[in-house]
Amino acid sequence: MIFSGVDMADVAVQADHLEKWFGAGRIKTYAVRDVSFAAHLGEMLYIVGPSGSGKTTLLSIISGILKPDSGAVLVEGKDIWGMSPGQIADFRLNTVGFVFQDYHLFPRLTTAENVAIPLLLKKQGWKESIDEAMKYLDAVGLTDRAQLPPVKLSGGEQQRVAIARAIVGRPDLLILDEPTASLDGDTGRKIIDFVKQHILDEKRCIIIVTHDSRIFEYSDRILKMEDGRIVDIGKGGISEE
């Protein structure tokens, strides 16, 4: 293991010599090259870097979406890429919460129904799922928007709905992909502040991919990538400027 000095008991995600390339022969391009790091429970870890640096590919690999060409990912001590496709789907459903860059809310469903989706996929009953979703909508301050379709909500509200959907299944690992990309600076900061204050706890790890330096101050650590490699792992809590 690469992080010999780290207390393994609180490691949420451990990436070990990950590599991912696309194409073959002369057009073989590395998206992720020999990446190793650990993310801890109770930690808000940022992955930053310019476009094309491999942030999203790395995020996909550690969340069980994209299989690496070499290396391993341990989440809560389990090698996720040693699992069958069905087990990986279950892993994503039960262990990971996703907030997509464009939210990907379902326009025909109400806000409450959108939040309830992970519970419905877990085969929970409809009413039970909606009741549970309402609690999380309450947590993100959107109870009064529960019956509205997402298109009637502002960008910040939609982002909060996406967060509620990501945490409703009580995942240990929360993945946010460019969460402030579509928001103005103020709203973006409020959202991340909310996530840090209300969602992050000692049993959960939050990994955020961003290149929005305005929210760097909320991070515990910042992992900087360039050309598929980690070039720096720095302490967070301060703005890059």
Binding site: T56, T57, L59, S60, S63, I65, L66, G86, A89, D90, F91, R92, L93, N94, V96, F98, F100, Q101, D102, H104, F106, I117, P118, L121, R165, D177
Partner: protein
Amino acid sequence: MTSIFAGILKKASATVINIGAKVWVMDPGVNNILNSIAMPDYILDAVRSIEGVKYAVPLYSGGALVKLRSGMYQPVTVMGLDDTSLYGHPKLIQGNIDDIYAENAFIVVHDEEFPKLDNPTLGTTFELNDHRGVIVGIAKVTSSGLFGTPTLYTTYRRAIQYIPSTRFTIDYILVEPKSVEDIAHIQEEVQKLGYLALTKKEFMTRIANYYKFKTGIGANILMMTAISFLVGLSISGQTFYTFILENIEKFGALKAIGAKSHELVHMILFQSMLTGLTGYGLGVGLCSLLMAIAKQRIPDYASQITYYNLGLAFVMVMVITGISSYIGIRKVIKVEPFDIFRG
């Protein structure tokens, strides 16, 4: 399309249905009730002598031109029933069946073609080949004919007397077997005479086959049905595929969240089945409504929804739904959640 065809086939066999005889003896060249080929009288005696025949009677079926009191001419179908038994006579709603033995007596069928005879009543007179005719009864039948001509019933003797005919006059021999088991033997014996004995069902099938395979109607209906199917398939498939493409990111997001491929397949199948069944219900309902309206406006409109039509349409809808789903399912199964992250 298939309803119209079913309606045509039913109307084509109207006489067979209305007369209701269990076994029909005819010339082997007959493949359509109206194009009968007359048989010599001795065939009737020969059939009567076959073991298993309870009784056998002649039937005349022919066409004539009636001159109405208005001075207009109207083609009619004339059925000549056996004088003694009146076997196969229609059910009268006005008049008395015994009046058919009166001078110049005819019974008119009250169907969609009835108004073409200027809505005759009991006692209405007309001319048929310079003979006087009198309506003595008005009858109801199960099914009206295909060719849009009114039907008159009279006795066999009067029919062949009024209407110019060939040397032979018996168009059909209607046979009542002693039992159902005797039918096969009767058919064998009739075949030895050089003629054909068919059960009611076999005769209707023969007529249906004639219209299906020898008139071009069947081929045309089949082509139109196939074209409708292809048009339906292309529109439905394209619409459903567009729906899948428009929502492909949502399916990808569901996969990323943890939905398994088979769950998405079930979701798509449910959506397509629900849409297909809704469309089927609306289609059948709309067709029924339009046919009901058409039948009120156009008396001769030949269309009929049978269980076979409904079943065929259901199968076609399911095939369209299945193919449309398959195209969408292939796309959804191939989508990678990574594409959602990558944007």
